[in-house]
């Protein structure tokens, strides 16, 4: 990697800091607008409480303080990477989030791999058999998976593969009745992962297929592909090395967007499949007005998304060295 690239990476990483802090501030302020607080929900769930006890709880949670004092406390905790305490779950936020993060990352990575891998393959296939039955079939498939609501697809998949056929488990991350270890454990998790990952990937799978197909068709007519053919490169080399590499650029852009969208899509998919990830935790935190927890999840998600966007920029550069690196001093 050239020193120019390294300094680019370094600059981009530094830019992440103000962006993330800005997002954190916005999150805090926007969430203040929601009516009701965690004490209302706690008392509501418990079937009632006295106003004195509720006031006492608010005092001990610091919720009776003015907003600017709470904001100051939140920010000063944040710079020490202290995400606070979840009063509802009775646990430190960092511990809660870290307990759930691996499951969400596993789900997201699996969905990304499926969407990219299958999307690319289908796109290439459709482009090389353009306007044949295969191309049409893929188009119909793409249309359906693009239009279908994620949660509905998930439910139908459970009904078919779990209830009717009994091939795959309907939810959870591991088989709770058998405590597997080693390879058996990995196979078990994989079996549980298939349906949620497929469900989460459907929308972007369609997007990638279309992007690849369009890019490939455009590139087939390009000069450098004709040159490659003229110098006797095999058809597979032309497709995979010359055309596909260039077709990947728009897909990488889309990937950066997808990561952010996936975090919100995970709320639905994790709920339908009982997947013990962050999405559900965030949803529960909203319903319970557990703002410390919600802010913690949003903060970590913001870091994740901005870092992945930096990564996307780097991949861009590696795929096509002609791409200008932003913010270059001249």
């Amino acid at each position: 990697m050239t020193s120019e690239t390294l300094s680019f990476i370094w600059r981009r990483l530094l830019q992440v800091i103000p962006v993330v802090i800005g997002i954190a501030c916005l999150n805090f302020l926007i969430l203040q607008l929601a009516p009701g607080d965690v004490v209302d929900v706690l008392a509501g769930d418990a079937g009632g409480s006295s106003p004195e006890y509720m006031a006492e709880l608010r005092r001990s949670f610091g919720l009776d303080q003015a907003v600017y004092i709470q904001f100051y406390r939140y920010l000063s905790n944040l710079v020490q990477f202290n995400l606070g305490f979840s009063f509802r779950q009775n646990m430190p936020v960092l511990e809660l989030v870290m307990g759930r993060l691996p499951a969400t990352i596993l789900l997201m990575v699996a969905a990304l791999v499926i969407a990219l891998g299958v999307g690319c393959a289908l796109g290439v296939l459709a482009a090389s058999r353009v306007r044949t039955a295969v191309d049409n079939l893929i188009s119909v498939f793409v249309l359906l998976s693009h239009a279908m609501p994620t949660f509905w697809f998930g439910l139908m998949a459970i009904v078919l593969f779990s209830a009717k056929l009994g091939w795959l488990p309907s939810g959870g991350m591991i088989s709770l009745d058998k405590q597997y270890t080693g390879w058996a454990h990995i196979r078990d998790v994989a079996a549980h992962l298939i349906l949620p990952a497929l469900t989460l990937s459907t929308f972007y799978l369609a997007v990638y297929t279309r992007l690849t197909r369009a890019a490939m068709l455009e590139l087939y007519g390009a000069d450098f592909v004709r040159t490659a053919r003229a110098k006797g490169a095999s058809e597979s080399r032309v497709v995979l090395v010359h055309a596909l590499r260039n077709a990947l650029l728009p897909m990488v852009t889309m990937l950066g967007l997808q990561v952010a969208a996936m975090l919100s899509g995970a709320v639905l998919v994790e709920s339908v499949f009982g997947w013990p990830g962050l999405g559900r935790l965030a949803f529960e935190a909203i319903i319970a007005r557990d703002l410390n927890l919600l802010l913690g999840i949003l903060f970590l998600s913001a870091i994740l998304v901005t870092l992945i966007n930096v990564l996307v920029d780097i991949v861009y550069r590696l795929l096509d060295p002609r791409v200008e690196l932003g913010n270059r001093q001249t």
Binding site: A34, P35, G36, D37, V38, D40, V41, A43, G44, D45, A46, G47, G48, S49, S50, P51, Y53, M54, R88, Q89, N90, M91, L96, G99, R100, A103, L155, I158, V159, S162, A163, G166, P169, S170, G171, G172, M173, I174, L176, D177, S271, V272, F273, G274, P276, G277, R280, L281, E284, I286, I287, A288, R289
Partner: protein, 537 residues
């Protein structure tokens, strides 16, 4: 423990005879011959949502009780008729003046860490936990002045005034006993044992995988010899109702506690494969109700409220929205609370003409557009049935000229708007009336309970006569006199109607037909499951 079995068995016959539930083809399910208990097996069950802690001693959230009751126990449990039967207490006596209650505790009971369970644990939990930290406990045990523990197995409560309702809340759900040696001298609310409880119950806590499940294993040293029958219980949290339904159909779970939506119950109609249990939520005795904000100008007129009750066809509401699971309520005390229920109060059968007359009399004439009154109706997004019931109410009140705008919000917004800001016209909720009106119903009508906290007297209704009756009933030792006070109370409530009691709800548990319980319980949602067994497939 033969005596206990006999008692419970006898009580149970009573319920079967009295059970005229309006659900065809299901009420008879209990009558199928019960197989002999089998040992072994793991029960996979699901509850509506994940609990936030695993101890009920200071938190009465339902899903906590559904898990916690397998690990920790109370002094009593309730049979199908809601009478207390022994759990950790073998027997009890109340002095004739109602001022002393003496419990004799079971001997040879051990905590899961091997320490002895004694009267000191009960004393500690009552004084330091129930009386201080429990949302209802503070009211239930308010009259308890002093607790004596003359020996390791006797607990004597000394009361400032009789408090018969204590016997309606002293089970695992209401009054769970904590180990003193773990909690004494610590911050009870943040004690690590709240997430890994040490109890006396039939099952020992094993693990809690957040977001996924709680795993429990059989307690080999349980005080009831031969029990529990199961090797363990796995409680899974499946947030999506449709996914829960499929998991039960696929055989991945054997029991869904209160978590299958009523429209999906038809999928479990096959009695060879599934059991639908309707009796386990009697302890809660929940009612779906429509509450008026009587501070609002037109809603302060009782004729308007009476008209509204005449305008809503409750039979149709139960049939269409709850598909027959439930029955029309006749007043603030539900019929499941047999001891105090009075069905002979003033009733308001479906009669839209009468409703229109009452509205005319109240001065609310129909305008040119046919509308007499425009009001909002708030509901929390708590269940599909509640939402549909609101649409039903909107239609029926619309027919008599009361135009309703529906407002749905999440729990926090809803609770804040109704009970703190008091910025609403009508609202619906499903509230637990509990086996004793002093505990469950008084809070909704009592002037002193017009406060800014959830599930209080949010309608703002105040009636000094009723206040006096309710307060007298609370500290009455004689059951006959209490019944009379409750009768007057029901009559006043049915005349003034700050709250329209619409439907007595049925809590529905669905299980595989392989799952059996030896002792049906009225508080079965919070039962210990020591008597549950699974016959092989």
């Amino acid at each position: 423990m033969k005596r206990r079995d006999l008692l419970v068995g006898a009580g149970n016959l009573g319920i079967l005879a009295a059970m005229g539930m309006g659900v065809p083809g299901i009420s008879g399910a209990q009558a199928l011959p019960q197989p002999a208990p089998v040992k072994g097996g793991i029960l996979n069950m699901t509850i509506p949502s994940e609990p936030t802690t695993l101890v009920s001693a200071f938190n009465s959230t339902m899903q906590i009780g559904m898990v916690s009751s397998k690990i920790l126990e109370g002094l009593v449990t309730y049979d199908g008729g809601l009478n207390p039967v022994p759990a950790l207490a073998k027997s009890w006596t109340v002095s004739p003046d109602g001022l002393t209650i003496r419990f004799v505790l079971r001997e040879n009971v051990k905590w899961h860490d091997g320490k002895d369970f004694t009267s000191a644990d009960v004393e500690f939990t009552l004084l330091k936990v129930w009386k201080v930290l429990h949302p209802f406990g503070r009211a239930v045990y308010a009259n308890v002045n002093k607790v004596d523990t003359p020996d390791r197995h006797t607990v004597i409560l000394h009361l400032s005034a009789p408090a018969q309702y204590i016997f309606s809340y002293i089970n695992t759900y209401g009054s769970q006993i904590l180990p003193k040696h773990i909690y004494d001298g610590t911050d009870i609310l943040t004690n690590p044992a709240n997430a890994a409880p040490i109890g006396t119950g039939p099952f020992v806590f094993k693990e809690w995988q957040r977001g996924s499940h709680v795993r429990l294993e059989r307690n080999a040293n349980y005080w009831d010899p031969g029990r529990p029958y199961l090797d363990g219980i796995v409680i899974r949290f499946i947030p999506d109702a449709a996914a829960r339904t499929v998991a039960l159909e696929a055989g991945e779970i054997q029991l869904a506690v209160t978590s299958i939506p009523i429209p999906n119950l038809t999928r479990f109609a096959d009695r060879k494969k599934y059991k639908i249990n309707l009796d386990e939520g009697k302890f809660l005795s929940s009612i779906f109700l429509l509450q008026f904000n009587v501070r609002r100008p037109n809603l302060s007129d009782k004729r308007v409220r009476q008209a509204a009750l005449h305008a809503i066809d409750r039979e149709a509401l139960v049939r269409l929205v709850w598909r027959g699971y439930g029955k029309p309520a006749t007043g603030p005390i539900p019929s499941s609370v047999k001891k105090y229920y009075n069905g002979q109060t003033k009733q308001y059968p479906y009669d839209p003409k009468k409703a229109e007359q009452l509205l005319d009399a109240a001065g609310l004439k129909r305008g040119a557009d046919g509308i007499r009154l425009k009001v909002t109706l708030d509901y929390g997004a708590s269940s599909l049935e509640e939402e549909r019931a609101c649409q039903f109410i909107k239609q029926y009140l619309g027919k008599v000229g009361i135009q309703i705008e529906l407002r749905s919000s999440d729990a926090a917004t809803y609770l804040r708007r109704i009970f703190t800001d008091v910025d609403y016209d009508l609202m619906v909720s499903s509230l637990h009336m509990l086996p004793d009106p002093t505990l469950g119903v008084q809070r909704l009508y009592w002037t002193k309970n017009i406060v800014k906290a959830p599930w209080t007297n949010g309608s703002g209704y105040s009636n000094p006569t009723l206040d006096r009756i309710m307060e007298a009933a609370g500290k009455e030792a004689d059951d006959g006199k209490r019944k009379e006070l409750f009768r007057q109370w029901q009559e006043i409530a049915q005349e003034d109607l700050p709250i329209l009691d619409l439907v007595e709800l049925t809590w529905v548990n669905v299980s595989t037909a392989r799952m059996h319980k030896v002792n049906p319980q009225g508080d079965g949602l919070f039962a210990s499951f020591s008597d549950v067994f699974l016959t092989p497939p």
